[in-house]
């Protein structure tokens, strides 16, 4: 079926005629990245040596004795001379994946292969166990600018050695990841010689796969448990207690505060303020994205009778109620001077975001609570869901935060489709190109184009107060690519700007400049960071402890607050919306010059870029091998010829004879002294102490030697 679908001409009938399957034992230069930015003689020599000894690097596909790790294996499929493969290559791999799913469970050939486990194999979740990826620059599937593909491609980070992997920096396990997988584009592109899949860290390919698989399974398992727990909690809470009832219970809890519940109330107000405050939360935009996401539909059907809409309605009302409730509290009477905040009681996501707590798989992901004699919500069998209203509300927020973070990597971590996974993780360029964020072939032109674009922006945005200012400045081409994405209907991000990054960029770029409204205010209380005063783009919060990041302000004439607290620890924060518009209102001239400077800087730096100008070499491994065999080394001049796709052997009669001999036998010629005209001569090779005596005639070349020459198959 596969053959029929793939080879429409019907000329090829035996799969072995056009494909080869190998077990990869050890990575060679042929299936890894370049170790230098431009292939040189050292690389070619290494390549040639590896071609000479294939048994060290590969084994036959059915040679299971070569597998060192029982649970993993890495196979390489080579397609021989596929004509016009570019026309149907993606279809081929797609068909192969579908066929594999069917054949694994149903084909009669599987039974003898799997016996005595053939029955059990039918229950295996194959689609989660196999991953196809291209080990070169060509993609195994069309690169699309979709969240699904981007998160799949980002699996490359899991190839890092477990001991060296910084889980805290891994978006797929963070409680509050960056706002989208597109954030990836803000990272610099890896250099050509960078071993992005960390292939060089392992002695054997099996060890590499095992490490990747362990990291992947661990990450996936962690997220599935998180998702399962969030959905269960949200289902039980939303089905049994309305948001109004939860709010009323919180009101009741507040009327009965003790020292423990004061802590809990503090957590509640802080967490809801940070996540959902309409004016101040920079997370809100990302979390609110959830309500329009369709990717959870199938997932929720599998594990719950509820849907995201019902979860969302409950959360939206509850968050508004809780924030309003917190803002109207008599805070100083609740959290008085004797109150000592215990930070460890905050939700894991809050601790990660605010206190930069690093991630650890062994950390408890449940939220703290105050145990009461009559729990607010419990299963009749005895399992308690919420101890009180505060616990219930925090649980709803925590679960929504889990859904929000998982949504960024859902396709990679919780695959919903019945298709074997595949990605382009070896190629960091494909997704960027698909998203219009990188175009290596037009780099030079784009550099000039960008400069004009910067000039245009200078003109346009110098006059118009608009938040677009941000996106255009921070991420070149981002505005265009987002627009394209939205038109494609692939990604549902707001095209305006990414607040979190903007905040950092504004501080970095504009902070030192005068005229920028760096916002400062002082909270009425030293103790609660959720109480903010807002005015003209200026906001701030106080905190009980002074951290190194805080800016201490002495006073602000615009702030009408308790004088006793003016010297309190204050955080300088920027109200982004207001800053964007006030920048245009306050000082339009500044904005014009800002864009102009940016544009010139970008033009100069782009033209100087040594790594980002695309180059293309086409080198034949056979020619590399032959040249090395003939010369015993690859010279500089030979290296240049190979880079042009040429052979280092001269096209003489002698060259052809050497070509023939080295193709027939595993020999490495070191010295030759023969001529076709004389009809005889000798050839010295590394593999034999004595020279080979050669004779040429009409019947071809005959060799006389005492050494046993190893024939090539």
């Amino acid at each position: 079926m596969l053959e029929t679908n793939w080879i429409k001409s019907g000329k090829i009938s035996d799969a072995k005629q056009y494909s080869e399957c190998k077990i990869i034992k050890k990575f060679s230069t042929l299936n890894s990245n370049l170790t230098v930015s431009k292939p040189d003689r050292t690389l070619f020599e290494e390549m040639a040596k590896e071609i000479e000894s294939p048994e060290s690097f590969t084994a036959a596909c059915d040679d299971f004795s070569e597998l060192t790790q029982p649970e993993v294996a890495l196979y390489q499929f080579d397609l021989k001379n596929p004509e016009n493969f570019d026309e149907y290559g993606f279809d081929f791999w797609h068909s192969l994946k579908i066929y594999l799913s069917w054949a694994f469970r149903n084909s009669p050939e599987m039974k003898p292969l799997a016996e005595p486990f053939d029955y059990l194999f039918q229950s295996a979740n194959l689609e989660e166990m196999v991953l196809f990826f291209s080990n070169g620059c060509q993609s195994i599937k069309p690169a699309t600018c979709s969240e699904k593909d981007l998160s799949l491609d980002n699996l490359r980070y899991l190839t890092a050695t477990t001991g060296e992997l910084d889980w805290s920096k891994l978006e797929s396990v963070r409680h509050v990841p960056d706002s989208s997988p597109l954030e990836e584009f803000s990272k610099p592109l890896p250099l050509l010689e960078e071993d992005i899949l960390n292939l060089g860290d392992y002695e054997s390919a099996d060890e590499w796969v095992k490490n990747f698989r362990d990291n992947f399974v661990r990450t996936r398992g962690y997220n599935k448990i998180r998702l399962s727990r969030a959905v269960t909690n949200l289902s039980l809470i939303t089905q049994n207690v309305s948001s109004e009832l939860v709010k009323n219970k919180v009101v009741k809890d507040i009327s009965e505060l003790n020292s423990e519940s004061k802590q809990q109330l503090y957590y509640l107000c802080s967490e809801f303020s940070l996540a959902a405050d309409k004016d101040l939360s920079f997370l809100r935009k990302d979390i609110w994205r959830l309500k329009d996401l369709k990717i959870f539909d199938q997932v929720l059907k599998d594990i719950s009778q509820s849907n995201l809409e019902s979860f969302w309605k409950h959360f939206e009302t509850l968050s508004s109620d809780i924030n309003s409730l917190c803002q109207n509290l008599k805070q100083r009477s609740i959290w008085d001077e004797d109150f000592q905040l215990q930070k460890e009681g905050f939700s894991p996501w809050y601790q990660e975001l605010v206190y930069e707590k690093s991630f650890n798989f062994t950390d408890d992901v449940t939220i703290s609570y105050e145990k009461v004699s009559k729990p607010f919500l419990s299963i009749q069998s005895g399992n308690v869901i919420c101890q009180n209203g505060i616990h219930c509300a925090r649980l709803v927020l925590d679960s929504i935060m889990s859904l929000s973070s998982i949504s960024h990597n859902l396709s990679a971590l919780v695959p919903g489709s019945r298709e074997v996974m595949s990605n382009n993780m070896a190629n960091p360029y494909s997704s960027r190109m698909a998203c219009g964020a990188y175009d290596p072939w037009a780099k030079r032109n784009a550099t000039i184009f960008d400069f004009f674009q910067d000039l245009a922006q200078t003109a346009v945005f110098g006059l118009l107060p608009t938040p677009v200012y941000v996106g255009a400045t921070l991420d070149p081409k981002r505005v265009v690519s987002f627009d394209t994405l939205i038109k494609e209907g692939q990604v549902y991000y707001d095209p305006n700007f990414n607040t979190k990054r903007l905040k950092l960029a504004l501080i970095a770029d504009l902070g030192p400049l005068t005229g920028i409204p760096c916002s400062v205010s002082i909270s009425g209380s030293r103790l609660n960071p959720f109480q903010y005063y807002m005015f003209n783009g200026i906001s701030a919060s106080t905190c009980k402890e002074r951290s190194t990041n805080d800016v201490v302000v002495s006073s602000s004439s615009e702030v009408d607050s308790d004088k006793n607290y003016r010297q309190a620890c204050a955080t300088c924060a920027i109200n982004l919306q207001t800053v964007a518009s006030s920048a245009s209102i306050i000082n339009p001239l500044f904005r014009v010059s800002f864009f102009l400077i940016k544009g010139v800087v970008r033009l100069v730096s782009n033209l100087k870029d040594p790594h980002d100008l695309a180059r293309d070499w086409s080198v034949s491994p056979n020619l590399v091998s032959l040249s090395y065999r003939y010369r015993g080394e690859i010279s500089k001049s030979c290296s240049k010829k190979l880079l042009k796709g040429k052979s280092c052997l001269e096209k003489s009669c002698e060259g052809e004879i050497l070509d023939e001999l080295t193709s027939k036998y595993f020999i490495s010629p070191t010295l030759t002294d023969f001529s076709c005209i004389g009809g005889k001569g000798y050839l010295e090779i590394k593999e034999c102490d004595h020279p080979l005596q050669l004779k040429f005639g009409r019947n071809g070349t005959t060799i006389s030697t005492e050494c046993k020459l190893k024939k090539r198959i």
Binding site: R105, E115, P116, F117, D118, Y119, L120, Q122, S123, A124, N125, E127, E128, M129, V217, R220, G221, K224, I225, L227, S228, R229, V231, T232, L236, Q239, N240, V241, L245, N248, K249, V251, K252, V299, D302, I303, K374, P375, F376, L377, S378, I379, Q380, S381, N383, I385, G389, V414
Partner: protein, 184 residues
């Protein structure tokens, strides 16, 4: 319709007179062995034998693995997946077994790759499925006949020291809410 009515009359009692066990064949296939004491027609209805029926269990799609569905299912056994307290109708049990539209899960199962082998947690979860102290528990889940995908948990078999029972698994979880707005 007539036959259904007839069977309901045959199995009016709540206490089951069968013992169920899961076996593995030499070629690693699951078998459900039902042994009847002859006090009712359970085995006869199931396989036309009086004392014992052996039912070969079909595959369970994606059950060996960590799909979200399996992950969730195993996590929720004993938590939100609980017996209803309602003894299952024998006709429904026979029908499910006879049509082979079921798969079974036990505490130590090849389908459970979530809990560590022989973990106390896994045993505890399954013990929680039965109302009294039991020595063996089997969770029956309905499957889609063509694809063999799990649909939902249906019954739980509880083997006590002196008797056996099969309960329905609740599709609706019974909750306690300890608060009324009137308390304000």
């Amino acid at each position: 319709m007539y036959s259904a009515f007839f069977l309901i009359i045959l199995f009016p009692v709540s206490i089951y007179a069968q013992v169920m066990e899961l076996n593995w064949t030499p070629n690693f296939r699951k078998e459900l062995v039902v042994t009847c004491d002859g006090s009712d027609l359970f085995c006869e209805s199931l396989c036309e034998a009086t004392s014992q029926c052996v039912i070969k269990e079909g595959p369970c799609r994606d059950c060996i693995g960590t799909s979200l569905k399996i992950n969730h299912l195993i996590s929720e056994i004993g938590n939100t997946i609980l017996n209803d307290g309602v003894v299952a109708n024998k006709t429904s049990v026979v029908e499910s077994l006879k049509s082979n539209r079921f798969v079974t899960f036990v505490a130590q199962d090849v389908y459970n790759v979530i809990d560590a082998a022989r973990s106390v947690r896994a045993f505890k979860k399954f013990e929680d499925l039965c109302p009294d102290e039991s020595v063996n528990q089997i969770l029956f889940l309905s499957v889609e006949p063509r694809t063999r995908e799990i649909i939902k948990p249906e019954f739980v078999y509880c083997d006590y020291f002196d008797r056996t029972e099969i309960f329905e698994v609740s599709s609706e979880i019974k909750m306690d809410v300890q608060f009324s707005p009137l308390h304000l």
